[in-house]
Symmetry: C2
Subunit: 204 residues, 2 copies
């Protein structure tokens, strides 16, 4: 596998999502040009992105959808048993949990933690006090979804100290993480602002 650039890395999930969708529609074979229209990325860019992983396609034929999904999943290290923990079981946390039907896309949320576990109602996964994270957290969990509304930095520090290396950030707080820990911010407000900027830009 060659050096994968940042830009390419961001496109892989898009491809994977599209390919899974195509598969569910019964599509067996896809050409870069078709996929390009589907995901709105240039065919050349797609071919180049794919070629970084290996020779996935066949000239004159295209790509085998099943095979592509298989290779993408395995060579990029998707683990269908990935154990994800949820930290903060407020409204948003609960909604995510209810919605935890990720149909074998990438593991599932195995347990949740909250500062006031007594105040949280019945959940579909075990719920623990955040104080007991160290003991209760599965040892092989690497990913945490953080939806707490206070003590964000403290929470993140605790997670990092206990082996979490990937954080999905749904808070609105700014925080810092040790080197080696990856963060992705999922923020609807920022998303809306970005949309507004983009929309208004057209008027210049």
């Amino acid at each position: 596998m060659k050096q994968v650039s940042k830009a390419t890395l961001q496109r892989y999930p898009v491809y994977l999502k599209a390919l899974r969708k195509l598969k569910s529609l019964g599509v067996k074979r896809v050409m870069s040009k078709e996929l390009a229209e589907y995901v709105d990325i240039q065919p050349t860019t797609i071919r180049r992105d794919f070629s970084l992983i290996g020779h996935l396609g066949k000239q004159g034929f295209g790509y085998d959808v099943d095979e592509l999904i298989e290779i993408f999943s395995s060579s990029l290290g998707i683990n269908f048993d990935e154990k994800i923990i949820l930290v903060g079981a407020g409204n948003l946390g609960k909604a995510l949990l209810k919605y935890n039907n990720w149909d074998n896309v990438i593991g599932e949320i195995v347990c949740a933690f909250d500062k006031y576990p007594d105040k949280v109602g019945e959940l579909s996964v075990p719920l623990y006090d955040i104080k007991d994270l160290k003991e209760k957290m599965p040892k092989d969990a690497r990913i945490a979804i953080v939806c707490v509304s206070s003590d964000v930095q403290k929470t993140v520090d605790l997670l990092a100290a206990n082996g979490i290396v990937s954080i999905v950030d749904l808070t609105h707080e700014h925080f810092v993480v040790p080197k080696g820990v990856h963060v992705r911010c999922v923020d609807i407000v920022s998303t809306i602002i970005e949309l507004v900027f983009e929309t208004n830009k057209l008027n210049y």
Copy 2:
């Protein structure tokens, strides 16, 4: 205002968020170097991004936080009365609504639509049948948050036909939009996949 590149556009919400945070902490003045550490973007990049909007800073001094927020908001067209509509009032939609305390960051959700409004409980905003979107939707609404789980394409078409130009997509479906309509996908699953790819990449 000069030509703003895509990359810069994506950073503006990050700056704005950080600046608002700094303001709330009582910070009056900030230098590109300070801000750089805070948001993890090079000072030069920040200065260049800012300079596209105008001469916002003062040499030897830095930037005035309040002023910067003001200029950002106004010259990028943030409308604090922006009317946002929510389409699909399932678990996720409801959680977003409860969470609709965007402290004057960018308007608010003014009403919601669902295919089965009878099945949805009490909400904090008026709820209408999606069939009545045309009549019930505020005429000046431009942004829609889409959380429906079926008929996604149909829903999006309806929105586009009724003047929505910006869509925040929380579905897992692929859909197409007419030219001029902007979409931003907020997808936790894709975010997690991206994180996994990035994390694993380190092992090569």
